[in-house]
């Protein structure tokens, strides 16, 4: 069964925080934006790049508690900004094997305090708190997850997007901060229906997902294909997630795999 996106919400903090915001607080803010009846997940994945500064709390089970208490919940990390992409792949796998019909992914990222230790990579010390909640369902509804893929280099992502561009010319490419204008020009040359949305620097693990959630109402009505693309500046590993809208709930003929 196909996984389809039912709801997407985001939270974004203000710069210059005095102390690191716990992941649990970001989760509280996200869940507060969604009707509990719209959640009730059976699979709940908490994805992040940098660990919680308050690590004794199991935020994944806390999130489960806030959203119905019936989910198989776990944290997924250890991949830099790839964690939410892999969480989506896991959720898609559970849906396609009939093990989940209401998966949920929450991506959280705490800002490093302005006065704090910024000796690590700057990408791992984002300036803003941010979080995204993505609630999914299963079935041939609009906006199914068509593809989630990882590439060891940016070149792999480039090749895959060229295939996508040949198959589908109305794609919205949502590019993370590490992907530059030259990269964008390959797929949306300006004389077709494809468009590019560039995500501003400042977030790391949440970047393209923040854009998706923030623009979801508009994009879900106006676009047909959304490709979320990001390269990890720390490792070069690149990630792609493609969402497809199917007219009247019928699966599109466009095959992206």
């Amino acid at each position: 069964m196909s996984l389809h996106l039912r709801a997407a919400v985001a939270v974004l903090g203000t710069p210059g925080v005095a102390a690191t915001t716990p992941h649990a607080v970001l989760v509280d803010r996200l869940v507060a934006q969604v009707l509990r009846a719209d959640l009730d997940p059976d699979l709940s994945l908490l994805a992040y790049a940098a660990p919680d500064a308050y690590p004794h709390k199991c935020v994944a089970t806390y999130l489960n508690h806030l959203t119905g208490g019936k989910a198989h919940s776990a944290g997924l990390t250890g991949q830099g900004l790839g964690a939410p992409f892999t969480a989506l792949r896991v959720a898609d796998a559970y849906a396609r094997t009939g093990q989940s019909s209401r998966p949920m992914i929450v991506v959280v990222e705490s800002a490093a305090p302005a006065s704090g230790d910024r000796s690590g990579p700057t990408e791992m010390a984002p300036e803003l708190d941010s979080g995204v909640l993505l609630a999914f369902g299963v079935g041939d509804e609009p906006w199914t997850v068509a593809e989630v893929a990882a590439f060891e280099t940016r070149g792999g992502l480039t090749q895959r997007l060229r295939c996508l561009a040949r198959a589908e010319d109305e794609t919205l490419y949502v590019l993370g901060p590490a992907l530059d204008d030259d990269f964008a020009g390959d797929f949306a040359p300006g004389d077709g229906h494809a468009e590019v949305h560039r995500v501003q620097a400042g977030s790391y693990c949440t970047s393209v997902w923040l854009a998706l959630a923030s623009h979801w109402d508009a994009w879900s009505r106006s676009r047909r294909v959304i490709a979320l693309c990001e390269t990890d500046p720390l490792t070069g590993a690149s990630h792609l997630a493609v969402l497809l809208r199917h007219a009247d709930g019928v699966r599109s003929d466009t095959e992206l795999t």
Binding site: A24, D42, L43, L46, A49, A50, P51, D52, A53, Y54, P55, H56, K57, C58, V59, A60, T61, Y62, L63, N64, H65, L66, G69, K70, A71, H72, S73, A74, G75, L76, T77, G78, Q79, G80, G82, A83, T86, R89, V90, D92, A93, Y94, R96, T97, G98, Q99, S100, M124, A150, E152, T235
Partner: protein, 329 residues
């Protein structure tokens, strides 16, 4: 009841556990020697030996996390042919663990695994290995590549004293394990999985006394619930289980948690005195011991159970195989 895998109701390929290996640092200390290192008093030390059932354990502060994890992973990798995923099942998340944010990737790199997706599963403390098996099997099934395999690596080293001495009832020791998961392989067949998370107890070690007491009171029922559900989903009852393979926090934990003496008699706690609690790796270590001692009867259901602070309860029914894993010397 939380997410449940009912393999028997589908016609999909079955998750199999095709190899399990565990490794420990050479250094062995008695519970008294470790108690001195942890600055415990005589009464506390006595409690760990006489009440909690500990005797000795592997512990070496000079062995770093990767040195702990990699030997078991290499032994399993020697038996693998097509690893597609590497899952690091990290017990502690964040500061209490010595794991870095890129530990999964570093394991992948040091094992020389190319074209492998490596990531960390966590936020379940010691319940994480069973979720790792379930996630790995699900990814393989969804990929539609029947030959692909997943390597699960478990084990952790606590950075903080409070995490080395969980609730003053559990001494964390050094031990790591790895597991090879595939579809329809020659190893033990996973028949079902049941798990439930209780986020009202998500503060774990920092729960106030009242909440800690409520968590302890709810624990027997919560565990029995997932065990019965896993057995039912596999088409069995708990009476059918030949053995239950739990984690090794101590011996009294299971006396307090499993009220039915007949069911409790099926719990394998023989490794508590010699290995103590190895974060995230206990169930695989215990499985390897039972396999090596030829204590697993092929084609009779057995069950893994794990409880993770925070609070996750999981149970998995598997069928030991007469091939490969069950007959290894």
């Amino acid at each position: 009841m939380a997410s449940l895998t009912d393999i028997t109701a589908t016609r999909m390929a079955l998750t199999t556990i095709d190899a399990v290996e565990c490794c420990f640092p050479d250094r062995v200390v008695t519970v008294e020697e470790r108690a001195v290192e942890l600055e415990l008093n005589a009464a506390q030390t006595h409690m760990f030996r006489r009440v909690q059932g500990l005797d000795r354990m592997h512990y070496d502060p000079g062995v770093n996390l990767l040195d702990l994890l990699l030997p078991a992973a290499r032994k399993v990798l020697d038996q693998a042919s097509a690893v597609r995923y590497l899952v690091f099942g990290q017990a502690y998340h964040g500061v209490p663990s010595m794991a870095a944010t890129d530990t999964a990737e570093e394991i992948r790199r040091r094992l020389g695994l190319a074209h492998v997706t490596a990531f960390t599963l966590t936020e379940q403390n010691c319940a994480i290995p069973l979720t790792a098996i379930d996630v790995a099997g699900t990814l393989l099934r969804a990929d539609g590549r029947p030959e692909a395999q997943a390597l699960i690596v478990t084990g952790d080293k606590p950075r903080l004293r409070e995490a080395q001495l969980v609730g003053n009832t559990c001494m964390v020791a050094d031990g790591a394990a790895a597991c090879l998961v595939s579809l329809d392989g020659p190893g033990a067949v996973v028949r079902s999985f049941a798990t439930a998370g209780f986020g009202e107890f998500s503060d774990g070690m920092l729960m106030p006394p009242k909440q800690r007491q409520a968590s302890a009171l709810a624990r027997p029922g919560n565990l029995l619930g997932v065990m019965e559900e896993a057995a039912r989903r596999a088409g069995y009852t708990l009476d059918d289980m030949q053995i239950v393979i739990p984690t090794n926090p101590n011996t009294t934990y299971w006396t307090e948690t499993v009220k039915d003496p007949v069911l409790r008699s099926k719990f394998f706690i023989g490794n508590v005195p010699r290995y103590s609690h190895c974060l995230g790796a206990d169930v695989f270590i215990n499985y390897a011991t039972l396999r090596d001692d030829k204590c697993l009867t092929a084609d009779r259901p057995a069950m893994f159970v794990s409880i993770g602070l925070g609070m996750t309860f999981s149970a998995m029914v598997f069928m030991p195989s007469s091939a490969a894993e069950a007959v290894q010397p």
